[in-house]
Amino acid sequence: MLAATARQLGSVAVTLFALLALTFVIGRMLPIDPVIAVVGEAASRETYDMVRTRMGLDQPVLIQFGRFALDMVQGRFGSAIITGRPVIDDLARVFPPTIELATFGMAIGIGVGVPMGVLAALYAGRWIDHIARIIGLIGHSAPTFWLGLMGLVVFYAMLGWVDGPGRIDDAFEGDVDPVTGFLLIDALLAGNGEVLVNAWRHIVLPASILGLGAAATISRLTRAFLLEQLGQEYIVTARAKGLSFARVLWRHAFANISVQLITVIVLSYAFLLEGAVLTETVFAWPGFGRYFTNSLLTGDMNAVLACTLIVGAIFVVMNMLADLAYRLLDPRTR
């Protein structure tokens, strides 16, 4: 067990290092000039050269990477050009809103996707199945940007059921001290109902848009996995033995697809954590996705490399969690 864990950790380290190296090399090879972002377009040659040297960009690529890797090991990501702040501080600021949004979205994705997939499998070919498939199709194929804008027009502008872009109304800005960075939790901890309500009304719509995409994937795969199980002989045997359909469905068929389902859910969550840049843009959500995208567009390499590493780490950790779940749920893999 210890050896297996060590092997896995070694594999994680190699994966992250390779990811870092690849991103760094690609970043340096791209014809993007990060110096302009610092000095401004109208800067003189002298200033440009001075800042370029200060940023270490006059050094050979290997030395630049070596310095960066050393900084990484010591937890120094450097400062971001786009905010002028340490990247680590930026990540601490932009990650909680994304985790909050992604987790809420995932809860909706699971809450809608799993029951919808089960119903679609049970009533395969019938109207419930068709409705589930249409919802899945919309979730998959409708552009997030469009869905977000339509959601705003209908539920915010026309019906007024939810609040608009942003995490909170300006009237409540600063009313709750950030403890966890998760506004809903901070409002709960502070017992500030007004802020909680306001934050809730702001997050519901973007989380639902994200959740719809996740629900589409989860529902489609739940249906497919379950249909496969329901066609197996052990299901017929169980029914022949007199077990109730509900027991056969949940204790046997659903239990058998739970391992695959968890993998799907974990990876879907990882994709949401990576940052839903379009959703964050439409809903003016100050999250990781927009930060990463802006860093890329301005050639802010410190931020880009740190974000890449974070995204890589998210997937590595999520894969590890999926593996762990496999082992817990499926005795054959232990």
Binding site: L30, P31, I32, D33, P34, I36, A37, V38, V39, G40, E41, A42, A43, S44, R45, E46, T47, Y48, I82, T83, G84, R85, D90, R93, V94, L149, L152, V153, Y156, A157, G160, D163, G164, P165, G166, R167, D169, D170, A171, F172, E173, A187, L188, G191, G193, E194, L196, V197, N198, W200, R201, T281, V282, A284, P286, R290, N294, L297, T298, G299
Partner: protein
């Protein structure tokens, strides 16, 4: 604790209406992603400049009613020596920064020297007058606590120099506070990137990068105080989102609205439109080192391939005024009317000009452009019309850093670009666009678009500085007319549209000052 949590949860399930903007705050929806620094030595983007110049007073200010008339601000009075080589400013006594430190003439002098010492892009605002980092100590001097003296190297027209002190480079930075946070020789640059330490009607309350920036009224501001307590910039990068927020009353002021969203407000009874022309131009640059594009007639031919009328009605319907000159329409010496835009789509004329240049065969060139509107549409427009003359243009959309990198390295054929300078004088634009101190590649005079285009013409190099030094106002105006007209036809660029900013405001907002030179939030009431 649990009781509080349950109380909050109970309220959550109760249906509550969304809150409107606070009564004592002005909420602005704007794209503040571009705010990467609040240090006036380094600020380059319009939005950062807007925030800084609202928070900080400069030595002088532009009269909102007349962009060429100056009013006192930090300086209560000023005198200019008869030889125009010495400017003396009397700083208002008794002013303090938010830190409590007094505002002194030494601070103002230091703030200006600091810009030169740090030598970011804004240093050009001083080097253009002959000041250098080495001469700064002698050029900017505090004679006493309230008297600032600036020594010129050349007798420029005084209105021209004085106007330059109305912008961010004329602000007083809190020297004591900035130097408390200095690291090495950065004169507090690292700290001032995320802080504002100056004298003005607002102070920085918070800046959550990518989310919001809030200025708070200084109640101890001794001049006319801001009417509202807070000025909140909410980062809204998507036009439709900004529109919906304004419609629902969740913001008071929306900027960056696209043509479609602006149009949707037509007939609105709850909001109104405010527009201002910007000192910003969209243009097509041609690399003069190219054997074909280097020919004056070929560049002139391209100008006749542009359908200004069609672009005005579509891509630039709300966001631009057709002008074939880089000088903004409100600037001193600017061309007006048909003189400023004599071109129309005329492919026969373009064909004749190409033949005149000896270009009878079709050719292929690359056009680099920003990957978004309106630049990409301009590139496509030129591509379609050039194709009718057998010219193949291959468009490469690029992100900003890529595009500017290639432009600054002269690694392009044709580029769709923009350039901004809000100075209300022809000199500002013509100095950068028409003159080129040294055309050698290794000279890398990248702050001059003329150098980037490899354009070098001794006539312009002589004519622009001569106009700058001319004291006779009418003669100077005539000189700029001649330079601008000649540059329009012989220069390396095809200028298309002067930018127009469109703002949509809630009718609840009153008394805001929106002029060509700036937007002033301190006067706004609700």
């Amino acid at each position: 604790m649990m009781t509080r949590i349950f109380a909050a949860l109970a309220l959550l399930w109760a249906n509550s209406a969304g809150a409107a903007t606070p009564k004592d705050a002005l909420v602005v929806a704007a794209n503040i992603d571009a705010v990467i620094t609040l240090d006036n030595a380094q600020i380059g983007e319009i939005i950062s400049d807007t925030i800084f110049t609202n928070a900080c007073n400069s030595l002088l200010q532009v009269d909102p009613k007349n962009a060429t008339h100056l009013l006192p601000s930090l300086a209560e009075s000023w005198t200019v020596s008869p030889d125009r080589l010495t400017y003396t400013f009397k700083i208002r006594p008794g002013l303090t920064y938010p830190s409590g430190n007094p505002v002194t003439a030494e601070d103002v002098a230091w703030s200006m020297k600091r810009i030169l010492w740090l030598n970011f892009g804004n240093a050009a605002q001083f080097t253009a007058w002959g000041f250098t980092a080495a001469s700064a100590e002698d050029d900017f001097k505090a004679l006493d606590a309230t008297t600032l003296q600036i020594r010129m190297h050349q007798p420029f027209p005084e209105s021209l120099f004085l106007w330059s002190l109305t912008g961010r480079q004329g602000a007083a930075v809190d020297r004591v506070e900035a130097m408390k946070h200095a690291v090495g020789n950065d004169y507090g640059n690292g700290w001032l990137k995320t802080n504002i330490a100056c004298f003005g009607p607002w102070k920085l309350r918070s800046w959550n990068a990518g989310d919001s920036l809030t200025l708070e009224r200084r109640d101890d501001y001794p001049l006319e105080k801001a009417k509202l307590r807070r000025l909140i910039f909410r980062n809204v990068t998507e036009s439709t989102s900004a529109r919906l927020l304004l419609e629902k009353g969740d913001v008071d002021f929306a900027s960056g609205l696209n043509a479609e969203d602006l149009k949707s407000f037509e007939g609105s009874t709850t909001t109104h439109l405010a527009r201002r022309t910007l000192g910003e131009t969209t243009y097509i640059g041609f690399n003069a080192l190219d054997p074909i594009l280097g020919k004056t007639q070929v560049r002139e031919a391209f100008r006749y391939m542009i359908d200004y009328d069609a672009l005005q009605k579509t891509v630039f319907a709300q966001s631009g005024i057709a002008r074939a000159t880089p000088v903004p329409n409100y600037a001193f010496g600017a061309l007006e009317g048909a003189e400023a835009q004599p071109y129309r789509l005329d492919l026969d004329r373009a064909r004749a000009l190409l033949a005149e240049a000896g270009v009878t065969e079709g050719f292929t060139r690359e056009v680099i452009s920003y990957a978004y509107s309106p630049y990409l549409e301009v590139a496509q427009h030129l591509q379609a019309n050039a194709a009718k003359l057998g010219i193949t243009l291959k468009i490469t959309p690029l992100v900003s850093a890529q595009l500017l990198g290639r432009n600054r390295a002269r690694e392009f054929d044709i580029a769709v670009l923009n350039w901004g300078d809000s100075a209300p004088d022809s000199d500002a634009m013509l100095t950068r666009h028409a003159t080129n101190p040294d055309n050698r590649l290794e000279a890398r005079q990248t702050m001059f678009p003329a150098w980037r285009m490899s354009f070098f013409d001794p006539w312009f190099n002589a004519a622009v500085p001569a106009a700058r030094m001319e004291v006779d106002v009418e003669k100077r105006r005539a000189m700029y007319h001649e330079i601008a007209t000649r540059f329009m036809h012989e220069g390396p660029n095809a200028y298309l549209f002067q930018g127009v900013a469109n703002y949509r405001l809630s009718n609840a907002v009153k008394d805001m000052v929106i002029t060509d030179s700036r937007v002033i939030y301190a006067t706004a009431t609700k």
